[in-house]
């Protein structure tokens, strides 16, 4: 049996216009709503697959405000078996603090007899993009850690993980327990079923208070890219514009061979 812990982050949906809060410390998501980081949707999918293959459970965890219960319930709806919310203001935590909070939960659960063989996280959060929570967690727990993984499976006492390297697909074999961070692309997140949604409503969420004295983020402020006025030159409409396009290609020197 293999028990998996998968860590997710509630992030602003940034597919539309991004606005900042008046204090420039966070993204104002009132009009765009929240979602789960794309890499973490894939981590949830892998957690469910690994747990199902080995007859274990997949616990989903987040360090966030109580509003992130929605993201936890989404993960239960697609197959996670239990959920943990560490209640905290994510804007006041740096990546080292988040790793420390996750490590605290793992230690507390292990002291109570719940061991996690594999901890999955997203490679980087869609909002803060720090690229380091998983690695810091690996060190905090003294477990092997690998990042940017597309697929993984447990074989005996090891997790076999595959990710894209500069020369092809790199294969890692880590002794369990291990920490693996997931990048989008290896698996497609599944959609919740109706029974899944029903179950998600009923499954209790274990809520814990944040227990680590935070270092905090090193953020001075957020800012938006300066809006550039459009300077587009329209070459024409429809196929009649093809000669103008090819003139441009010649001018740019990309047509010669």
């Amino acid at each position: 049996m293999v028990d998996v812990l998968v860590c997710v982050k509630r992030v602003p949906d940034s597919s539309g216009q991004v606005l900042l809060s008046p204090d420039e410390q966070s993204v104002d998501a009132r009009h765009v709503g929240f979602t789960t980081s794309p890499h973490e949707e894939c981590a949830v999918e892998l957690a469910i697959q690994v747990a199902a293959a080995a007859g274990g459970g997949a616990t989903v965890l987040t360090v966030a405000s109580v509003d992130a219960t929605a993201q936890l319930r989404n993960a239960i709806a697609v197959g996670c078996t239990s959920a943990v919310l560490v209640e905290a203001d994510p804007n006041r935590l740096g990546p080292a603090d988040v790793a420390a909070e996750i490590a605290e939960v793992i230690r507390a659960h292990e002291a109570a007899g719940r061991r996690y063989d594999l901890v999955l996280l997203g490679n980087d959060a869609a909002d803060t993009g720090d690229f380091q929570v998983g690695v810091r967690l690996g060190y905090a727990l003294d477990r092997p850690v690998v990042t940017g993984i597309a697929t993984c499976e447990v074989q005996g006492e090891r997790v076999v993980a595959r990710g894209e390297g500069p020369d092809g697909t790199e294969v890692f074999e880590l002794d369990l327990p291990a920490v693996v961070t997931v990048s989008e692309g290896g698996v497609a997140p599944r959609y919740p079923s109706i029974p899944g949604r029903m179950k998600a409503k009923k499954t209790p969420v274990e809520t814990r208070a944040a227990g680590v004295d935070p270092v905090g983020p090193a953020r001075v402020r957020l800012k938006l890219m300066p809006e550039q006025p459009s300077s587009v030159q329209v070459l024409g409409e429809g196929p009649a514009a093809a000669p103008a396009v090819v003139d441009l290609l010649e001018q740019l020197g990309v047509l010669a061979r």
Partner: protein, 326 residues
């Protein structure tokens, strides 16, 4: 002194490492930049690497040598960097913001007990060190303090162009054996499966990229685009919706969760230009958008545009290229 992790490939120092070496000068002006190369350096590229480092004004090249460095493990590479950073009392450790660069620096920052800034694009002030980095997939920027005893930062791809130093150098080469532990080898590559046809560097290094988005219409909608890619000797890149719908494989994706490109020409066909996509293509020197919607962000942000259906326009462009070549 600034320590920069240098990655090499067939052509010598990789483009993004040369960018990082150039960027590092601004982190602590006048302090000098030293390079760390991990593992063996093939004899045929060695002169080229030293030439490139000299041109970029690098004072010294530290080459970490140990049989156990042959197969990649982020922890061993980090150990090699930390070794030099400590011996040289470095003020900063810098790498290119590649997946590997970010992974290694996360290990370095954790081992040294300091913060790490990923995907830095600018230095705001040097005392104290405040950098600007990309967040929210490039839709916003964050000013971040790096006031620990050593600053650890990765440089966003194409944040600057490689630029020769005012005074070229003849880098002093030293080899050393970093102290590695068994724990450092726990997450090591056990084997690399050569990509079947996938060249992961092809997109990031391409001079011409033909982009395709939802406007392609379906998995069968790429024939004209692939022909154009072929005619231009370029590489096909696609938006996230195209890979999410399973029309094309993920390794072709350009954007926040795909490749970041910096071609001379990006020909974006049927791509609306969501922020996540723009984050990956904004470094293109010239952008030409083909789109039915004249108000799409890709069109308004492009240098040139053609308004209309890519399925009519792209074949006409292909035909015109063939006509002029014959």
């Amino acid at each position: 002194m600034i320590v920069v992790l240098v990655e090499t490939a067939e052509g010598g120092v990789t483009l993004v490492s040369r960018e990082a070496l150039t960027f590092a000068r601004d982190v602590a002006p006048g302090e000098g930049v030293q390079a760390v190369v991990v593992g063996d350096l093939a004899e045929e590229i060695r002169p080229q690497v030293l030439g490139q480092l000299g041109e970029l004004g690098v004072a010294a090249m530290h080459q970490a040598v140990d049989d156990r460095l042959g197969r990649y493990a982020a922890a061993t590479w980090a150990a090699a960097l930390v070794d030099v950073a400590k011996r040289q009392s470095a003020q900063a450790v810098v790498a290119a913001g590649t997946p590997r660069g970010n992974e290694i620096l996360a290990h370095v920052a954790t081992r040294m007990g300091v913060a790490m800034a990923a995907n830095v694009v600018a230095v705001e002030t040097t005392q104290p060190l405040v950098v600007t980095r990309q967040v929210v997939g490039g839709a916003a920027l964050e000013e971040m303090r790096l006031d620990d005893h050593v600053a650890v930062l990765s440089v966003a791809g194409h944040a600057c162009d490689p630029a020769a130093a005012e005074t070229p150098t003849d880098p002093a080469v030293t080899t050393y054996s970093p102290g590695l532990t068994e724990a450092d080898l726990r997450a090591q590559v056990v084997r690399t499966e050569p990509a079947e046809v996938v060249d992961t560097a092809a997109l990031t290094d391409a001079r011409v990229v033909v982009g395709a988005g939802r406007g392609a219409g379906g998995p069968d909608g790429f024939d004209g685009l692939l022909e154009l890619t072929e005619l231009l000797g370029g590489v096909l890149g696609v938006s996230r919706v195209v890979t999410s719908l399973g029309w094309r494989p993920h390794h072709e994706q350009v954007g926040q969760t795909g490749s970041r490109i910096s071609p001379d020409l990006y020909l974006a066909c049927g791509i609306s230009g969501a922020i996540q996509h723009w984050a990956g293509c904004q470094s293109a020197k010239t952008i030409v958008a083909i789109n039915t919607d004249a108000d799409a962000p890709m069109v308004t942000k492009a240098d040139y545009a053609v308004i209309g259906d890519l399925h009519e326009i792209v074949p006409a462009i292909n035909e015109e290229i063939r006509r002029r070549r014959s």
